[in-house]
Amino acid sequence: ERLAEFEAKILRGEKIEPHDWMPKEYRRQLIRMIEQHAHSEIIGALPEGTWITRAPSFKRKMALMAKVQDESGHCQLLYNAAETLGKSREAMINDLLIGKSKYSNVFNYPAKTWADTAVIAWLIDASAIVNQVANSKGSYGPYCRALERICQEESFHLRYGYHNVVTLATGTPLQREMVQEALNRWWRPIMHFFGPPDTVSEHGAILMKWKVKMASNDDMRQSFLKQYLPKIFELGLTVPDIDLHQDAETKQWIIGDPDWDEFFRVINGDGPCNAERLAVRRTAEENGAWVRRALKKNTHAYTVPLS
């Protein structure tokens, strides 16, 4: 009955809106996914944020500020989209801080040099865009509308990152070496970014049917490799994967084992920066508490945002 109508609506390509009926599981999975995406944006702002004060030129400084600002902006948009499903923003932030709700594993690694920020801005934002473009065709209205604006703003990140990497790769020997080393550090976390091969991931099937998850992990990884490996090689840069090769007939890129044990170890809290990221986030929340207390004083009951 209602489930059939709900699924038929999705099949017809229509969007589900906040006041429509939806299965509990659909609401729960959507909140989980959008919440994690929002957390990844605010935590993702931290490694790059530390380099704003050391950016080597006016334009890079302003661009990196605008990029990290966008990440806060995207986090705000995504929390809003998730809030229309009935979970308050403060509850989501709280779940992040107590470690109950996850964020993208790639941000548990440190940005060691200026070239790291260039590789992050280019290849990690590129990976995020592959994921976001797929999800923007999903079934939930507010999430798609948020992603529409996010993808527009991400196109600047991508171009800025690429311009940055190209400037370093075609610059002095010191710059070239710095960007190659950064790429060596970030290659494996980027391969982890799309998640383990689908056989292992348990949310898969139902999320695909309800257009919550739009593409498999392997398809998204493959789309990333197809688009960006040629550009990396064109700059004479290499990636740290001796088994990486392109299958002659299928043109598919085959990668070596990126060590999924490390992926699960880090995602469960044992990466180089897990503790530090949440600690910085907690300090920021605590330092701002007096401000929020002052603002909360004169406001009325909280209402769920509309769309």
Binding site: L46, I52, P56, S57, V280, A284, V291
Partner: protein, 249 residues
Amino acid sequence: MAIQNLLLRMADDALIIGHRNSEWTGLGPILEEDIAFSSIAQDKIGHSLALFTMLQEFTGLTPEQAAFSRNAQDYTNCQLVEYPIGGYDFSLMRHFLFDTAELLRYQLLRDSSFEPLAKLAKKVVGEIKYHVFHANTWVVQLSAQGTEESHSIMQQALNTCYPLALGIFEPSKVEQELVDTNIFLGEKHLQNLWQDSIKETLQKAGLILPSLTDETVGYGGRYGYHTEYLQPLLDEMTEVYRLDPTAEW
């Protein structure tokens, strides 16, 4: 050249306060405020870039060379802007006191006899008006409309910032020449306008100006005398640039 002195201290002020306020990016008390405060910091860096580009006509230095290869004693920013960001109360109060002066300064400069500066002033006055709108809204919100706790925190921030803010108006050695050549009406004049302007918002906010004792007034910056905070800031700011100042970053 009097105009160089004015352009340099305005450029240094905007660069250093923009740099300091950028340290809040991603760490603000509320997401929406994080976004707003970052835009204001970006605008400041943009203003300093415009001013250093104007200075290039006189000095031949690119903005990067001018900004990334000087030490503290060659900087002419007022001491107020170099202090660490502290709590959000300090950064907000500095933002309020500094930007109120900045708006009045650029409004005056719209009629400057130095054409490029008048042109820049006309272009950015709208942006700075928003900076002041933002500052006024927050100072009133956290003081009069906040809690007892936030009101006392903001009063304390005003007590700390106000003496330092007077350093904005420390007269330079070319003050008279600027006034005579109608480039700028002078820091004294600006300070009078500023005193009236902040009074209005402080009244609405229920905050009172602290009494002044001479040694707390933040003079010295215009003549290269700075606090111990500036050099570490510059070392951090130029860390990557110094790896190879001739390279393109």
